[in-house]
Structures are given as structure tokens and as C-alpha cells.
Symmetry: C2
């Protein structure tokens, strides 16, 4: 008799949904990257700028920024170094915890954001948002929210 559990393979329809999802994912990421290139930014650069510009005092602790952008501390450290060299960001000491550092948006960083954001939004619209009905969009969000929450729970250290 069979003791091992049979694999619960994906149905055709599940498989197709999954693959479509993966494809969109990759192509979209790639397209966003391409649309940022003329400004000399990567997706990662842009995301950090977004996080910082929305933060209180245009600054975030390295750890918080790493958590917000879902990357390892090491990666973020290198990343910030690059952005610092590019003049978009600077490091500042944290008074209350002397181990800590803030990544702070510079004036040039703010200006870059202001210049680039409209193009980025246009790109997001063109390649994603505007291709979905507003109903599809809110369904999407409703469907994906539990997935996001599930994953947040499962997420180990990066």
C-alpha cells in the first residue's frame, strides 16, 4: 500500500494563473527598471528615495529602511554608500543610540525625487494600473492583501 502522500499538483487553471503572475512580475520589474534608466536610477534607488521622502524628517534608521525595503542590512549598507557617492543621500549619526545611523535625503535627493516621480507614476500607470479596471484593481488588492499578510508572518531575516 501507498504510504507516501501524493503530490497535490496544480490544476491547469492554477498553473496558468501562477505563470501569468510570474511573467507579469518579471516583465513589469524589467520595464520599470528600463523606464528609470534615463534618470540614472535603479528600482532599488527609487524605492529608497520613496521611503525616505515619505519619512519624518526625510530620514530613516538603516535598520528600518532595510526592513521597509525588504533587503539585508549588508545590501542596504552598500546601496546607501553608492547613493551617498551619487549625492542623493547622506548618513547621519543617531543621538539616542550611538550604534545607529540615519540615512537622510539630501537636497539633491529631494530634487531628484521631484523630477523623477511623475515619470515613474506615468510608467506605473501605463504598464499596470491603467490596464486594469478599477474593479479589477480593488479585487486584486483584496486578493493579494491576505497573501501579503501571510508572507509577512513567514518572513525570516534577509
Amino acid at each position: 500500500m501507498e504510504t507516501e502522500t501524493a503530490t497535490n499538483w496544480l490544476t491547469d487553471s492554477e498553473q496558468c494563473a501562477w505563470r501569468t503572475y510570474l511573467d507579469v512580475n518579471r516583465m513589469l520589474t524589467h520595464q520599470m527598471e528600463k523606464d528609470l534608466q534615463p534618470f540614472g536610477l535603479t528600482n532599488n534607488d527609487y524605492e529608497i528615495l520613496v521611503n525616505l521622502s515619505e519619512a519624518e524628517g526625510q530620514r530613516l534608521r538603516m535598520s528600518d529602511l532595510a526592513a521597509a525595503t525588504l533587503q539585508s542590512k549588508s545590501r542596504l549598507s552598500h546601496q546607501i554608500t553608492r547613493m551617498e557617492n551619487a549625492g542623493l543621500v547622506r548618513r547621519e549619526n543617531c543621538e539616542s543610540d550611538r550604534r545607529g545611523l540615519f540615512a537622510v535625503l539630501t537636497e539633491a535627493g529631494v530634487e531628484t525625487m521631484e523630477k523623477v516621480a511623475p515619470h515613474h507614476v506615468a510608467s506605473v500607470r501605463k504598464h499596470f494600473i491603467d490596464l486594469l479596471s478599477s474593479e479589477a484593481l480593488s479585487d486584486l488588492r483584496a486578493s493579494l492583501t491576505p497573501v501579503a499578510e501571510h508572507l509577512r508572518g513567514h518572513r525570516g531575516k534577509l
Copy 2:
């Protein structure tokens, strides 16, 4: 008078959908990667194995494989070299076009696939498919298909 076009910013609801999408994206990729780690495979490895094992004769031309997996020829070339060293794949000459090469699944590659696939499917189910109702899933697919088609059109060389 204003000559420049005002930016068509995202509404709150659009923004939220977009960010949820991005988050799921990243966390899911990360989780899949983590679930493959015990088998010594990356997402990229796995995807190549899938493509090859579904192909006629367990083989694909380098170019076709690159196109199928949406990566540059350069990256694929490195990737296949690594997988060749790991014994999962081998290169074989193409008779009909002497510029060409096939990436071919080895016996070890097939066995790896057979061993890993069930776990991978379980992971996809656990972290994605089974968290969505079957209706949500088919809606998702329906919503994303046009996006995928749009992006396929726009896609330049990698």
C-alpha cells in the same frame, strides 16, 4: 498660463493596490527562494529545469531558453555554465545550425526535478494558490493576462 501637463498621480486606492502588489512580489520571490534552498537550487535554476523538462527531448536552444526565462543571453550563459558544473545540464551542439547549442537536461537533472518539484508545488500552494479562492484566482489571471500581453509587446532585448 500653465503649459506643462499636471501629473496624474495615483489615487490612494491605486497606490495601495500597487504597493500590495509589489510587496507580495518581493516577499513571494524571497519565500520561494528560501524553500528551494534546502535542495541547493535557486529560483533561476528551478525555472530552467522546468523549461527544459517540459521541452521536446529535454533540450532547448540557448536563445530559446533565454527568451523563455526572460533573461539575457549573457546571464543564461553563465547560469548554464554553473548548472553544467553542478551536473544538472550539459551543452550539446546543434547539427542544423553550427552556431547553435542546446542546453540538455542530464539524468541527474531529471532526478533533481522529480525530487524537488513536489516540494516546490507545495510551496506555491502554501504561499499563494491556496490563499486565494478559485474565483479570485481566475479573476487574477483574467486581469493580469492583458498586462502580460502589453508587456510582451514592449519588451526590448534583455
